[in-house]
């Protein structure tokens, strides 16, 4: 991996300077950073840098929950007699996200292709992206279940971030990657440097990623049934995934009679009733079909549909590997497919 070139202005700052900077940023916008929530590492709003769980790796849930929240109100509906009024509820909050790892950033870019670039643009997601500034933190090395290098990513890839941080000894190299990011930097207070971030320690790819056009050939392989037999359809993989985006739209009543809200919330194609139609018939009633669909969507359907080119929609973050209760491991599946190809 080639060391990142110094094409963007870079500053060298200490941990203390970083903390002071974050404290000041928290006063201007809502600052979201990794926190310890009863032993679980999660992105949460922080009032100051002391609330951040320093030494964090990657939070249990990805950054997607701040752009594509687990529940979101789309519309408020008011019915009085035969009259109906619809009120849009578009997000307004200005945020800064701190500590976003390259895999999560890649996840957001993958969702951008769906929600923003694929017409029509989703106003809820795109507003949140516009209103957010992302301070990413590159990784120095890969975790035991990480496999970003196997899906075309890298632990020190800062592509997409507004500001990129690289740990170097006890200090940080801060690179402004976009105009938006530059607005956050107190340029008069910090000193520019020409130090270049050292490349991260990378693991070799686990497998040769099966070419996209080889996926249709494996559709009826016995392997899917073997893999999915222990699946519980628990959905955790989809919910912790930085790029899974299936959602449900529902109308629900509010406590005031005649008032309702139209909400959308996360769902997953692995659940039994995902393709249940009125009348009771279920498509993909077989667990094998559902699990296979999720893998195919990640590596073939999504890239085809939303123009990801040769990339998959998987960022290699490894959350699904960590959190599957029955150890269904996407890397095992990919290694097997590479072997079959």
């Amino acid at each position: 991996m080639i060391a990142p070139k110094l094409i963007n202005p870079t500053w060298l700052i200490s941990q203390t300077t970083l903390e002071n900077w974050l404290d000041s940023l928290a006063k201007t916008r809502s600052l979201i950073a990794p926190r310890d929530v009863d032993g679980v590492l999660l992105y949460r709003p922080v009032e100051n840098s002391r609330q951040i769980k320093w030494g964090f790796t990657r939070p249990a849930l990805s950054a997607k929950e701040f752009f594509f929240p687990s529940t979101e109100r789309l519309l408020k509906i008011e019915k009085t007699g035969q009259q109906v009024t619809l009120l849009e509820t578009l997000p307004e909050n200005q945020t800064i996200l701190f500590g976003v790892r390259p895999c999560d950033m890649r996840g957001l870019q993958t969702l951008d292709a769906l929600f923003i670039e694929h017409a029509p643009t989703d106003p809820y997601y795109s507003r949140r992206r516009e209103n957010a500034i992302i301070i990413g933190l590159a990784c120095k090395e890969m975790g035991s279940t990480c496999f970003c290098t196997s899906v075309g990513g890298a632990p020190d890839n800062s592509d997409g971030m507004d500001v990129a941080l690289y740990e170097t000894g006890d200090s940080y190299l801060v690179q402004a990657m976009t105009e938006k990011g530059l607005t956050l930097i107190p340029q008069t207070e910090w000193s520019l440097t020409d130090e270049i971030p050292a490349p991260a320690k990378q693991d070799a790819p686990l497998y040769a990623l099966p070419q996209q056009d080889s996926w249709p050939a494996h559709f009826n392989a016995d392997y899917w049934e073997h893999l999915s037999e222990r699946c519980l359809s628990c959905r955790v993989c989809a919910y912790v995934c930085p790029t899974c985006r299936c959602f449900v739209i529902r109308d629900e009543s509010l406590t005031v009679p005649g008032q309702f809200e139209r909400i959308r919330c996360w769902d997953s194609c692995t659940s039994l009733n995902y393709r249940r139609v009125a009348g009771g018939h279920r498509q993909r009633a077989n667990q094998n079909e559902r699990l296979r669909n999720r893998f195919y969507c990640k590596f073939y359907y999504y890239p085809e549909q939303y123009g990801l080119g040769k990339s998959s929609a998987c960022t290699g973050c490894g959350r699904c590997v960590d959190s599957c209760p029955v150890n269904i491991d996407i890397t095992e599946a990919l290694i097997e497919l590479a072997r079959l190809t």
């Binding site: 009259q83 106003p123 109308d251 393709r275 498509q283 073939y300």
Partner: protein
């Protein structure tokens, strides 16, 4: 479409009438800018109809935009949203979001013979095709309509059959699985009827809409009869939520029924239909 594609237009029910057992026709007049959005909608497109407070569901637009300015939907009462819609009356307000999806390539069909096969409520999205052909009769060749249902009380648009038959170079063939005493047309599945009618594949395209199992068997039979896959069109349905290609629910392999369809050519989806059942 409005600026916010998740926000429906409001529509007023100008007519609600029974079409068949548990199937009603809803005629909707669009309000607040909706008419402009839908004035150019094409046969094959669909829209989400909202029963506010309970939800929305996708339905094929059952009239051609030249028969307007209203939208017809034929809705079968089966689940939460459809039951709520069935309880509405003339004058009630619903939501309409669309027009969504692609359309039948009516221009490409010009000069060709059309074989239209509708099973049950599947006839609804085919009605705008029939209306369009009848309105521009000279542009199209022979029109052969095969209409099927499980029993006579489930046939839709029965009061229009006479007009369809009156049109030149047009024939209508009916069949039911289970007849009643007054039934004097064919009895049997639509595939039996298709064999009986035996339309020629010469310069013809077929358009099928119905339950997945029907689409499977009709497609197979058409291919045996010599209809090339690229001349067979289907309009598919799937459980949908956004209709905009975002929520991922309606996928058929790498295709999304809401944006790549609902109209498909058998050449592009034939191999995917095994996952559709």
């Amino acid at each position: 479409m409005s600026d916010n594609p998740m926000k429906p237009y409001l529509g007023r029910l100008v007519e609600v009438k029974d079409l068949a057992t548990e199937i009603k026709l809803f005629r909707i007049e669009l309000l607040n800018g909706g008419s402009e959005a839908f004035c150019n909608c094409k046969p094959g497109q669909f829209a989400f109809v909202s029963a506010f407070g309970l939800g929305e569901a996708p339905f094929g637009i059952a009239n051609s935009s030249e028969h307007g300015p209203y939208l017809d939907f034929a809705i079968n009462r089966l689940g939460t949203v459809t039951t709520a819609l069935h309880e509405l009356d003339k004058g009630d307000i619903v939501g309409v979001r669309g027009p969504l999806g692609n359309c039948f390539p009516m221009d490409e069909f010009k000069g060709k013979n059309l074989v239209v096969l509708g099973g049950g409520i599947g006839g609804a999205p085919l009605r705008p095709v029939i209306q369009h052909v009848l309105d521009h009769r000279a542009d199209y060749g022979k029109l052969t309509i095969l209409w099927a249902a499980r029993n006579p009380s489930l046939l839709v648009f029965t009061n229009e059959y006479q007009d369809w038959r009156k049109s030149p170079n047009t024939s209508l063939h009916l069949t039911v699985d289970t007849p009643d005493p007054t039934w004097d047309h064919s009895v049997g599945l639509i595939t039996d009827l298709l064999k009986k009618v035996n339309p020629s594949p010469e310069n013809s395209v077929s358009i099928t809409c119905g339950p997945p199992i029907m689409i499977h068997y009709v497609a197979r039979l058409l291919s045996e009869m010599g209809f090339a896959p690229q001349n067979n069109y289907v309009t598919l349905e799937a459980r949908m939520h956004c209709g905009l290609g975002k929520c991922g629910r309606c996928n058929l392999g790498e295709k999304l029924v809401c944006v790549d369809g609902p109209v498909f050519n058998m050449e592009e989806v034939g191999h995917l239909l095994e996952t559709y059942l």
